[in-house]
Symmetry: C2
Subunit: 184 residues, 2 copies
DNA sequence: GCCGGATGTTGACAATGCCCACATGCTCCG
DNA sequence: CGGAGCATGTGGGCATTGTCAACATCCGGC
């Protein structure tokens, strides 16, 4: 048992791929109980190891949270890229916005962790890189549609609009359908 | 000593106005160390009471956090009202947006607590009321400028834009000046 | 003047993050 | 082939926290 295929960058370990297991456990906890519920010891329990094993893979609880957020940015990036590939230029920006909103709606806890400001990006390079990569796709789509001199400001505005809608949806202040109606 | 003037709704108590003192202590902790740093016991320490005294005023730590968020919405509401009063209709909406951004920038920790999604509005009526009141001012200003049939959607869009900018500023992803430039 | 309830205190318990010393089992080098 | 070295996992322990229960104190109304 435990013949996990390490389908990623992680090394292969003693008892399977514990790092991956802890991230999976953390995602479960995050989605079911929010950031507060992500506990080092509980993640260890779910992964079937002792309460101290996680320290061999994450230097602190915050590092685990950063890994979860990084995972989130990777997923968002994939979703944005997919949406960009399926739409032609005129509608592309709207499609990206919709994908952004769908992501926030589909995994509210992760979205809030990603943008909750709890995590210090400077202290977690992987996180900074993953988030910059995701926004690169968005910025590219804006520049493509609006190649004016004020492209930067327009990109920012588009980003902020979508981001604000996503937060409002994640916080259940508005309905997802209302948010999508604002994208036109 | 401890002759605090209870300048609000709180009753007057045994050792002064502990509820107010705990909120003040909580604000200090919040601003200096983020939500995670707001500890029941530390707030009690700052207020000079035993570790269990807070339970006579807040049923749980989350209730204290809710009170801090409520206080934040009251402050935001005041700021928005003041900005609305100082500007005439054409510029009023922009002025409101600026006030919103200034608030988020000036007290990032409180802003994140208010919109972090950690707090269940349904469980804290005061919080729900205070947040609804603050948004009432914003919505009113939008409707005033854009009395079209799609006023609701426009209000939502304006709110989302400002809200997204505020989040990006609070998370230090963009500069406050960049955000203000997007308000026009 | 005293009595009840609101307010504050002390003590305790489980859970958590993190540190230390120790055990285990790959892996690689001779 | 065998043992050394090191990455990985374990167990115990400590300080802190949120919360509960029992007890103390102090105010206002009878």
């Amino acid at each position: 048992m435990w013949a996990l295929s390490t389908s990623g960058g992680g090394a292969s370990y003693h008892h399977g791929d514990l790092r991956r297991g802890l991230i999976a456990a953390g995602q479960d906890l995050l989605r079911s109980g929010g950031v507060e519920a992500v506990s080092f010891r509980e993640a260890a329990r779910l992964a079937g190891v002792s309460h101290n094993a996680p320290y061999r893979h994450f230097p602190s609880r915050e590092a685990l949270l950063a890994a979860l957020a990084t995972e989130g940015f990777l997923a968002l990036h994939r979703a944005l890229d997919r949406a960009a590939g399926e739409a032609r230029p005129p509608d592309r920006l709207t499609a990206l916005g919709r994908a952004y909103l769908r992501f926030a709606e589909g995994d509210r806890a992760t979205f809030r962790l990603m943008f909750g400001g709890t995590l210090d990006r400077a202290a977690h390079p992987d996180l900074a890189e993953a988030s910059a990569a995701a926004f690169g796709t968005l910025r590219g789509a804006v520049a493509e549609r609006e190649p004016s001199a004020s492209a930067h400001r327009d990109a920012l505005r588009a980003w902020a609009l979508v981001h604000g809608l996503a937060h409002l949806v994640a916080d259940r202040q508005i309905e997802a359908a209302q948010a999508e109606a604002c994208l036109v």
